[in-house]
């Protein structure tokens, strides 16, 4: 298998995994927008996390920002799979930012709220998986693929 082919497959996998993250974050966004996170009706730990002050920034649910971030990852990975070199750089930057945000949210759940939301943990796992896949990607050989 050529390096180019390997990279195409890898970015395609990243795009597919990002769709799973997008679905998870969309579900959490809907929960936040319907006000369900302010009620008891599901897992007690989930609403403890999603109903906390850490789940919103400036009145906007962080899940919504997460959905947008996963969509960006999906779009950038799709472009990268089609050989757009610049998309790979933006993809790494986006995932880097998401990785740091994920570390913060894991800290909040573990040490500040003492409760874990399973959908948030799934999102964390997806971000770590994508970061791992990008680390596995061989470095670029050319300056521009466009």
């Amino acid at each position: 298998m050529t390096v180019s082919r390997f990279r195409t497959i890898l970015y395609t996998v990243v795009a597919i995994v990002a769709v799973a993250g997008l679905a998870d974050a969309t579900f959490l966004s809907v929960q936040a927008l319907t006000g369900e996170t302010l009620s008891c009706g599901g897992s007690p730990d989930c609403f403890k996390v999603l109903g906390s002050s850490y789940a919103k920034v400036g009145g906007v649910p962080v899940a919504l920002a997460g959905a947008f971030a996963y969509f960006c990852v999906f779009a950038l990975a799709t472009f990268a799979a089609f050989g757009y070199e610049r998309a790979r750089i933006f993809l790494i930057l986006t995932i880097g930012a998401m990785f740091l945000a994920t570390l913060w949210f894991l800290y909040v759940q573990a040490f500040l709220l003492h409760a874990y939301c399973r959908y948030c943990l799934l999102s964390a796992a997806i971000t770590f998986l994508i970061a791992g896949l990008l680390i596995a990607a061989p470095p670029s050989q050319r300056r521009s693929g466009e």
Binding site: T26, C40, F71
Partner: protein, 222 residues
């Protein structure tokens, strides 16, 4: 064609996400029914069969469907007390049991409140249960804790123990639960003001106050 393919895929996924998100929103947004005339509370009717706090003749009735093990219900209980002070004789609060299956000790707590109610101390037990929620929710000896609360608020503990297992307390809890289910309620707390449901998004101090003020002004809620 290959040049446009990534754009087509991305737009397709964006539309798919937006569409499924919108469908999920519609499905998740609770379709609470306004209370039919015969179920709505007004004046003093049915006062003997429900737990009322505040002026029984108040023009505004806030009916709460709650679960003693639900933390947002605990927060809401503290806020409700504040509302009673603010609105004084213009507001009365009615509590209905809706113990969720997900909460292991919620039904037992409802039975404890009803057993206390049979000795005329429902609201005292209500206050203790919410105040001590964090303690009993995860305790292995919940029943013992409820009995100790009964002693603390001055109940006859032996009678309390019997009433907790009695048919009357169970019937009260079951009746409230059936009422909640008939109204399409599936989360707690769910709030009705003069028979009109408060939208889940408005289940915050500003939203609830606005709904009470609208009811006081005789305006229909949005």
């Amino acid at each position: 064609m290959k040049r446009y393919l990534p754009f087509v895929i991305i737009v397709g996924v964006a539309l798919g996400t937006f569409g499924s998100g919108a469908m999920l929103y519609r499905a998740k947004h609770p379709q609470l029914q306004a209370m039919p005339e015969e179920k709505a509370l007004s004046g003093n009717s049915g006062a003997e069969s429900m737990h009322i706090r505040g002026n029984p003749d108040a023009p505004v009735t806030m009916e709460e469907f709650g679960d003693f093990q639900c933390p947002p219900c605990g927060s809401f209980a503290a806020f409700a007390e504040q509302l009673l002070k603010e609105y004084d004789s213009r507001l009365r609060i009615v509590f209905r049991h809706f113990p969720l299956v997900a909460h292991e000790h919620a039904r037992e707590a409802s039975l404890a409140a009803e057993a206390a109610g049979l000795q005329g101390h429902f609201w005292e037990m209500y206050d203790v249960l919410y105040r001590e929620q964090a303690a009993w929710s995860k305790a292995p000896n919940t029943r013992e804790l409820f009995e100790s609360y009964a002693g603390t608020i001055g109940l006859n503990v032996d009678q309390f123990k019997m009433d907790m297992d009695g048919e009357q307390a169970k019937a009260r809890v079951d009746s409230d639960q059936a009422r909640a289910e008939s109204l399409g309620i599936n989360v707690t707390p769910t709030i009705y003001i003069n028979g009109q449901p408060v939208d889940p998004k408005d289940k915050n101090p500003e939203g609830v106050r606005a709904a009470i003020n609208a009811a006081l002004a005789g305006k229909p809620q949005a």
